[in-house]
């Protein structure tokens, strides 16, 4: 019997299948590419080739596209990514006290105490120092984002890059390039800048205690990990499944929920991957809020609805204004 966790992030959509002993039996790491519904469907299709729908006992979705994924797949629980990352790390190694998580759009620090989240912080409005910044710089330097780590490790004397803001950092990088600094030194300097920015911004005022665990997509970058180790002067653990920790945590939460509440799953089955799902948007003019309502439809039926403040479009299918 398995539990399914889906993490729909800005950059990647991850799916994890976990058995009842909380071991990952299968994992998928797909690019979201701005189309979360397609990514979830693709994931379900791929997993559907190996597993049967009735083998899934519970499902939980997380990530910024969690409610969308929940509507598509029929989730039992919908949880925010901070809780799922915390749970995943606590299950992976109960001794972990600090989690550094850097994803595509946001970076967070989560402090654990006996496996319970004690405190957390997230980057505020700016996405400087996250995965998308690295992506962009790799593209500009003509490298794949996976190569950055190896380049950083080869650096002899990293240059100093301003890491406060992505725009400043970029112009600083260009400037250093034109001075003739080597690619390796620049990339190492960029990694250091990212770490400095993280520690002075996201982790400001937080006590970082070992064991420190580094997860999220950026954890694959060896150079950043090294920079963190140097800055924090302690070993940093990168879990084997660091990319899919959010999905893993949500699978654990799905199991907890199903076992505690003794419920049957609402999972719609892997067949959903072949369904045609369409979205429609319209501005509701019934009250002063003017919500931009998004409606999700499959096979002519409404399967989900978002951003209506009053919640009146949620329950049943209703007649929509003509303009849709």
């Amino acid at each position: 019997m398995y539990y399914l966790g889906i993490d729909v992030g800005s950059v990647s959509t991850d799916l994890v299948i976990m058995n009842e002993k909380r071991r990952i039996v299968d994992q998928l790491y797909l690019k979201t590419r701005g189309t979360p519904i397609e990514a979830v469907k693709e994931g379900l299709r791929q997993l559907g080739k190996k597993y049967k729908s009735r083998e899934i006992d519970g499902i939980c979705t997380t990530g910024s596209g969690r409610s969308l994924a929940a509507a598509v797949a029929g989730a039992d629980v919908v949880k925010n990514e901070i809780t799922t990352h915390g749970v995943a790390a606590a299950v992976y190694d109960p001794e972990i006290r600090t989690i550094i998580e850097i994803g595509g759009q946001d970076s967070k620090i989560i402090l654990l105490n006996d496996g319970v989240i004690r405190d957390f912080a997230m980057n505020t409005v700016c996405a400087a120092g996250t995965g998308s910044f690295l992506d962009r710089q790799a593209e500009r330097l003509g490298l794949a984002v996976q190569e950055l780590g190896a380049y950083a490790l080869r650096a002899a004397s990293p240059v100093r890059i301003a890491g406060r803001c992505a725009v400043f950092a970029e112009s600083d990088i260009i400037h250093k390039q034109q001075l003739g600094c080597s690619m390796e030194d620049i990339i190492a300097g960029m990694s250091k800048a990212l770490v400095r920015n993280y520690l002075s911004n996201v982790a400001k005022g937080k006590e970082i205690e070992p064991k420190v665990c580094f997860q999220g997509g950026v954890a694959a970058n060896e150079g950043i990990r090294r920079a963190f180790e140097e800055a924090l002067e302690c070993d940093i653990l990168v879990p084997e499944y660091h990319k899919v920790m959010g999905a893993y945590g949500s699978a654990v939460i799905a199991q907890e929920y199903i076992e505690e509440e003794n419920k049957k799953t609402r999972f719609k089955g892997f067949e959903v991957g072949h369904d045609d799902i369409s979205t429609g948007t319209f501005e509701c003019t019934d009250c002063s809020n003017h919500c931009e309502v998004v409606i999700l439809r499959s096979k002519g039926r409404q399967i989900g609805c978002f951003s209506d403040r009053c919640g009146k479009y949620q329950a049943t299918e209703i007649k929509l204004p003509v303009s849709v």
């Binding site: 989240i117 505020t124 409005v125 809020n289 003017h290």
Partner: protein
Amino acid sequence: MKLTFPHIGDAHLVGRIFFSELGIEIVTPPYNTISKLEKGSGVSPDEICIPFKLMVANLMEAHAMGADTVAMPATMGPCRLGEYGELLKSILDKRGYKFHWILLDSSKAIGVRELLRRLSYLVSDSNKGLPEILLALNGTYRLIKGLEKLEQKAHLLVGYEEDRGACKKIITHCRRELSEAGSIHEALRSIRQHHKRLAQINVNRDKNPLHLLMTGEIYSMIEPFANHHMEEVLMDMGVSFEKRVTLGWWIDRTIVHPFQLKKQLLGNRYLPYEIGGYAKDTIAEGILCSRKGYDGVIQVFPVGCMPEIVAKAVFGKMMKEKKLSVLTVIYDEMGGEAGYITRIEAFVDMLSRRKRIEEKQKYDATMKKNRGKINVLPGH
């Protein structure tokens, strides 16, 4: 004279009732939306905060609707060195939006005589005498206070309600009735009725919901659009919370009894100086929160609000010393809400999980203490 003023929370509801009581025509600009914000940021300086951009947009729309006079409580001093109202005026003047401006600065800045002169201009179109105006003012003050009391009660009861959404429904209904009320008396009656209704909802006293305090920059606190309707988000989550920074609070603080409230702020060792804005008040609220055993604080402010940035840094220290949990939510022009909701949800999740564990420990401890006595039940 067609009077208008920018949106801030429910000010347009009570303002409309007050001025119609005096027979002054008033224009209410359309509600704040993303497209209005875009319009406002098109003409404002780039670095300025969201409240300013929204206010500019409000006044531009009001101009299109025929307004010719603006009443603007500028409260010289606290924010942007008192240039707020002046900057608004200068930007709109340059763009050809001709208004007659009534900048209601504090008497300390412009003198009592000047303030009275400006106030008298505000009501110069009215055919009512001074006693009637004072009566209407008193009624409006009671109206604001009554509405806020209703909201405050609903915010606390929401954690205990049996039928999800009952409290929210009553507030929404009350607002709708106020927007249609013809006189102050009608409005006051409506508020009284809703107070009664709120007292009758089904509550479960055995519940133990989270108890949070919402604080921060004043405009973001009062105008729901500027905090992405955070109150409604919290109410949907079933969290009891308190919000002290309101329109009525501001009136009390600046007009009715400025000294009484100021006194509460003394003896604040974290931020002994006035640094502008309402930073000191925010810190004072944080201290109150740790003293009264709230579960956490949510601090709200727009990007670039200097006083609140200082308050945020002070909260960092207080979090360590007083075991306070603070979530800082900073709003800017981004329309997407997923990020904000994630942060609030995670904060609520963390606090409720922690609360559950603490309660369990307390329960276990009492069970342990009473282990010997467990069989000594009455009748045995």
